[in-house]
Subunit: 192 residues, 2 copies
DNA sequence: TTTTTATGTATAATTTATTATATATAAAGG
DNA sequence: CCTTTATATATAATAAATTATACATAAAAA
């Protein structure tokens, strides 16, 4: 799957592994991310498969760059993938939900600490979508010949925004649902 | 991470790999799932690490069952994990968003087909959360000594419900955002 | 009657992803 | 002056996950 992300970026411009890592970090990382080592090994594999070509660009006082270029076969592979509709909904892994599912024996205070911490993190993430990410995309939409692309990027940004809003709402609901019984417990015996 | 899911289930009752696969399928699968082979290999590894113990239960006319039991070390490992707050938000992989991000060159009709198909799938999933899943949990809450646990299961179900509502809303928005420009294009030239 | 579903465990092969480490240097910040 | 950040690639080791396959039987459904 990472391969399609890399092919996607390479349709815009030739790039090195380092570049591609950076592109992911600032664009798709919220819904598709990869470590540097995985990017480098995947690019090697893709070159063997003929999806990309590479050449070395010497640099003075910097390590050489290995710049990748998408091939016709690569473009086709990418197009086949985007054109092929998915018949299932993607499976997710949400660590927090797994923890919560098995948290009945845990002290409510510890759960609350965790949920409140998560709320802060998700609020920060929401804020990022609404400011930084939004600005970056509208700058692309305004200037270059990427207005059309920017509409799709904006759709993925909007998903992030709605997702974080939903997440915060759920955290609020869940925190309250845990607080209420705790209050009852704490009020049922006299204060020391 | 799968290891914690397995430990979690084993705090309720001893179980075989087959049982555990079934438990996951009907409970955590929407936010944490695993294949049968991964469950079996992980259980073996966990036994080596002393987190679980197993014994063989002979059966007539059925293959023997290898039944696992959580150890004290296993309980501690699980508790350490649940008690340890996460300092980051979990990273997600959303195939659909990745496809959409690189779909500017694709025919709008193909994108619409994909999004509408996804809408159907997510509506079905939402429906499942609101009926089947909800019923299963409230039955547990009503009968057994699992009322407390059921509150947490309900919280994870509620996440699923909110998530699917959000997803459908986003799909509607996105479909409309793609349809409008398509309408303009189609109306800009006379009908054949 | 044949096929599917359910019961059960196990391993091999492969793919995907993470962590850690090695090598090199320049510019900027504290 | 020292540390961090940025620039750049690469591999080894490990972990996590998927796909495929093998063995074995009974009941229920088509």
């Amino acid at each position: 799957m990472l391969k399609y992300a890399l092919l996607g970026f390479l349709t815009y411009k030739n790039a090195s592994g380092y570049d591609l890592k950076h592109f992911m970090d600032v664009s798709t990382s919220n819904f598709w991310n990869a470590k540097q080592s995985q990017i480098y090994t995947t690019l090697k594999k893709m070159e063997k498969e003929g999806l990309v070509l590479s050449h070395t660009e010497p640099q003075e006082s910097r390590p050489n760059r290995r710049v990748y270029e998408i091939t016709t076969a690569g473009r086709e592979d990418l197009k086949n993938w985007t054109a092929q509709p998915m018949m299932e909904i993607g499976s997710r892994k949400e660590k927090l939900l797994l923890k919560l599912f098995f948290s009945a024996q845990l002290e409510p205070q510890k759960i609350l600490t965790e949920l409140r911490l998560q709320k802060n993190l998700h609020q920060a993430q929401l804020n990022k979508y609404q400011t930084t990410t939004k600005n970056v995309i509208s700058q692309f939409a305004a200037s270059k010949d990427l207005q059309e692309d920017a509409r799709f990027w904006e759709a993925t940004r909007r998903f992030g925004e709605l997702y974080e809003e939903m997440y915060i709402r759920w955290l609020d609901e869940t925190i309250e649902g845990i607080c209420k019984p705790v209050d009852r417990l704490e009020n049922s015996r006299p204060v020391d």
